[in-house]
Amino acid sequence: MMKFLSKVGEYARDAVQAAKYIGQGMMVTFDHMRRRPITVRYPYEKLIPSERFRGRIHFEFDKCISCEVCVRVCPINLPVVDWEYNSEIKKKELKSYSIDFGVCIFCGNCVEYCPTNCLSMTEEYDLSTFDRHELNFDNVALGRLPTKVTEDPLVTPIRELAYLPKGVLEGHKADHRERRAGKLPVEIIEETQATTGN
């Protein structure tokens, strides 16, 4: 009889323990009822790509010197530099330049190593097409600029964490024009000059 009772007691204790911890877990779950969703409703709201975002590559035809460094540093030697040596001006003449964005992995090596800075990365990331060959951009297509998220009247721009004001952790909570975290170097200079008195 005693054995049975202690068994029942043990069982009850276990049940109470379990109920307690599950209750504790449920508290965390219910706590989410007073939080905002953090998801971004994409076509209506868009995240502003970061300043260093590596999107579709922009190319300036006139700056290129056909040195082919971009080809050499690319993991798959992707950029196609079509040039001809012009013996009159003793220079290489660029005829056409193309990058196939169906193959490019947006690593940014070509942009980093180009000696004349004629390549740069834009913030364009929505590159889907119906035919993959449409992604093979020639120098005209590479020279186009994408539209900015902030200038699109149909879209609510939302900033990413690193660009929010200090202390704000959700993009929805701050307007995208509000000042981001961090002081400007000029301000730091002024402050130190004010405190040191010179």
Binding site: E160, R180, P185
Partner: protein
């Protein structure tokens, strides 16, 4: 009374390669006796992309974008090891500031990896909710990465002799915000998970591995530390500047799935603390402060010396790997990630052997699941923390 003799035939079933709770494309051939597992054989190679061979005809600069595809959840570590190997061979100095930036990036990456592990592990066991919580926090790390490196996952940020670019304006402030927030959230996960009786029943005493076995199988990372070996390469090898931070190796002695869970959660906490310290200690402080000091003190000041640079010298595309061979390793979230590099004074490495932690940790799986119930496979596999991209390379 007639007794029906039930002697079940052994059954061989196939799990994967596209199992819903399988981590990547891994196939398990499981021999079952009723519900009990008699044997289990992992079949790998579905994600093999010959990463080692590709390295043999790529310069380091060209190869760097590839490496984030080994372990695509702890991307910074693969980059760190890829630049560390030639760096050590060629004796390239790394400025202190660059080293601090690297440490912060590595620890953020560790948190991201452990967070995702936590989500999938708990989801494997049957709780879906924490999966979404961890993704919310992981997203913030990726936002920070995107601001500093330009990409969320495929950073291409580490360079021989430092990093590709200094931190952006205000990044340190936001990183600090994030770490404080994350510490609170880890408490929240623990409230939700650690003492949950269902979770406890599923993981306690499951997938046990003893200290000796763990060492003999060559396990590393949280797998090894959960079995009672206090072995963390950050303390053992003294690489980067981890010695300047105040932190403790997380370890446990039980060697079961629960111990591995606790070790990883503890590591997330430690990582947050390490980043918070690094933010305070980084030479030159934030980028904006460094800029201001440079303007104030003029061009010849100490602020322009090597310690305050983010890279010692921009590597040329024709960086030659000197002749020689050696092995370098870092403590990745999954364990010891190493490279055995043989150079022959050429721009291409002669041999680039990768020691992926997931591959070595996965081999112990058959031993762990033998004698367990079939439902435990997922819990055990989850607790090993493998990423098939890294296992198959």
């Amino acid at each position: 009374m007639v007794m029906i003799e039930t002697k079940a035939e052994r059954m061989v079933i196939n799990m994967g390669p596209h199992h819903p709770s399988m981590h990547g494309v891994l196939r398990l051939i499981v021999t079952l006796d009723g519900e009990n597992i008699v044997d289990c054989e992992p079949v790998l190679g579905y994600l093999h992309r010959s990463m080692e061979k590709i390295a043999e005809n790529r310069t380091i600069v060209q190869y760097l974008p590839y490496v984030t595809r080994w372990d695509y959840l702890a991307t910074m570590f693969t980059e760190a090891i890829t630049v560390n190997a030639p760096e050590k061979l060629a004796d390239v100095p790394v400025p202190r500031r660059a080293s601090y930036i690297r440490m912060m990036m590595l620890e953020l990456s560790r948190i991201a990896s452990h967070l995702l592990w936590l989500g999938t592990f708990i989801a494997d066991i049957g709780a879906q909710t924490p999966f979404f919580y961890v993704f919310r926090e992981r997203e913030m790390i990726y936002d920070l990465f995107e601001a500093a490196t330009g990409m969320r996952m495929m950073h291409n940020y580490f360079r021989i002799g430092g990093v590709a670019a200094d931190l952006p304006y205000g990044w340190l402030d936001k990183c600090e915000d994030y770490c404080k927030y994350q510490l609170e959230k880890i408490d929240e996960y623990e409230r939700l998970i650690t003492n949950n009786p269902i979770f406890r029943k599923r993981v306690e005493g499951v997938g046990k591995i003893s200290r000796e076995d763990a060492i003999n199988w060559g396990l590393s990372g949280p797998m090894l530390r959960a079995s009672g070996v206090k072995w963390d390469l950050r303390k053992v090898d003294h690489y980067e500047l981890y010695d300047e931070l105040d932190w403790e190796v997380q370890w446990a002695t039980e060697g079961d799935c629960l111990a591995r869970y606790l070790v990883r959660v503890g590591e997330m906490r430690q990582s947050c603390k390490m980043i918070l310290q690094a933010i305070k200690q980084i030479p030159g402080g934030s980028y904006e402060n460094l800029e201001a000091q440079r303007v104030l003190a003029g061009p010849k000041s100490e602020w322009n010396s090597l310690d305050y640079q983010f890279i010692s010298k921009k590597p040329s595309p024709t960086f030659k790997i000197p002749a020689g061979e050696h092995y370098v390793r870092v403590e990745a979230p999954k364990g010891e990630l190493g490279i055995y590099l043989i150079g022959e004074n050429n721009v291409f490495p002669w041999r680039w052997k990768i020691r992926p932690p997931g591959f070595i940790n996965l081999q112990v799986l058959p031993q762990l699941v033998r004698g367990m119930k079939i439902a435990d496979i997922m819990a055990i596999l989850g607790s090993v923390d493998i990423i098939m991209g890294e296992v198959d390379r």
